[in-house]
Amino acid sequence: MNAMTIPTAHPHRKSRTRSQDTQGIPAALRSEWIKISTVRTYAVLLGLTVLSGLVTSWATGTFVKDEVLLAKEVFLYSTVLTSIFASITGILLFTSEAQHGTLAGVLTSQPARWVIVVAKSCVAAAAGLGFGVLGMAAGFGGSLLAGLDVGDTSALPRIIAWSLVFTTASGVLGVGLGMIARNSATAISGLLVWSLVVENLLREFLDASVARFLPFNAGNGLLSIPATNDTAARKAVQLSSIENAFVFGGFTAVAVAIGTFLLYRRDTN
């Protein structure tokens, strides 16, 4: 039984081209949508997003009495948490596949791995967008429930748009982190420790002109939430919204690029 090669014209055994890979993206998107909509974890994360939006803004409006608060500001407060939930969703889109062994089925069905990365990134982006919209809607509802005035809404569309850029990109960042770590606990704890602890420490110790380029510093900068501990020096070097979007988007792109490289390099069990 020596090795030999038999050329064939069988329709399924023809070699694929790059354009045929591209044509596989809608199928991969459909598959990812079925996956995200048929596991309760993601519904729980969406529920937590809505709940945190509602409770954060209602509690802030109800219990903070030493300053005048308006619904047009308070509704955004929970978006920091929303972006984390979006990132966790992105992480789980990949790590749950790696940990439960379904990644093998995915990669044998679609060997062009970049197609899978595109599909997961798109679904994570859609999830981040959806989480952002519902989280902010819940935040607005909570503010109104607390009896806050809406305030001047002229700048609201711009604020909402940049906030949605943050939550959308957070979902995609999660996919990149998931592909790098491959393990849910590692990726999620890494995300939380970096965003909530390490970056806050670095912000204290680094020069403001450097700290402004930290990923979540830039991401949070998109939310237009005035930080109470911002010094004049920090305010002076703050990046504009578009610059913050480029910094956060850059980190997201790098994470996805590294994750994609590793997805091609690593063997799959």
Binding site: M4, A27, T41, S96, G101, A104, Q110, P111
Partner: protein
Amino acid sequence: MISVSGITKYYGTRVAVDDMTFDVASGRVTGFVGPNGAGKSTTMRMMVGLARPDAGEVRYDGVNYTDLLHPARVVGSVLDARCMHPGRKARNHLRALAALSAVPVARVDEVLTDVGLETAANQRAGGFSLGMRQRLALAGALLGDPEVLLLDEPSNGLDPDGIRWLRTYLTAFAARGGTVFVSSHLIAELAMFADDLVVVGGGKLIAAESVEAIIGRNESIVVVDTPQPDQLRHLLAERHIRSEQVHGQLQVHGASLSEVSRLAFEHRILVVEITEATKSLEETLLEMTSSSAEFASA
């Protein structure tokens, strides 16, 4: 036909698969056997592009797996029966796979029926027994109605009925012209339905032959219980036939039962019992792979 040509895989400095070359023919069931750590699973993962060979290649009628236009319609594989999200229902698990392979969703219920899981279609996979998981994994492999089935230890966790069903299914699949490549540590089970065997040990190919050819490697032994062993041994030696006395019986190598019994009869040697012993396929394979077994029993 699957052509595996010189595939080699290193993990660090350890060679897991060493220059393995064999073919898997269409219309036949090919068993893939070897002890633990022989490189079976690594080889199978390389065959479907999940692991990158350091050298060599695998081709399906001339095309690399990762280049196949519709891989799921050419090869259905089950490399790990646990490959499902425990929180997802069986039907949804298959719907996601079908969507990715652009297989019509109607096929999901067909394969669930094929593997006998139609009543469990709306149950979450986390509550499945290992046998049910094996069936669901096989359903996933069958979604694209493939020409080739690559299965790693598919009978693990199956009850006797399930094993018989699997054997019948795979035999029928091959009879329709399909290619079946199945690994198993249950050699006796494989012997019941495999046509060919690929035997590996220590990451190296030991044999790639038909089951008949491997059984044919055996030298049969004629065991004679006689009160005159020395006389019979002398007669055998005159005819250059090797024999030895083991536990009070004479074991004769290289002669048939009829030859030995005729010789004894012609020289009036009393024979109490005479039998021909042939090693089972399992014994033969264990002997073939014994030197390469990584985790041998004491």
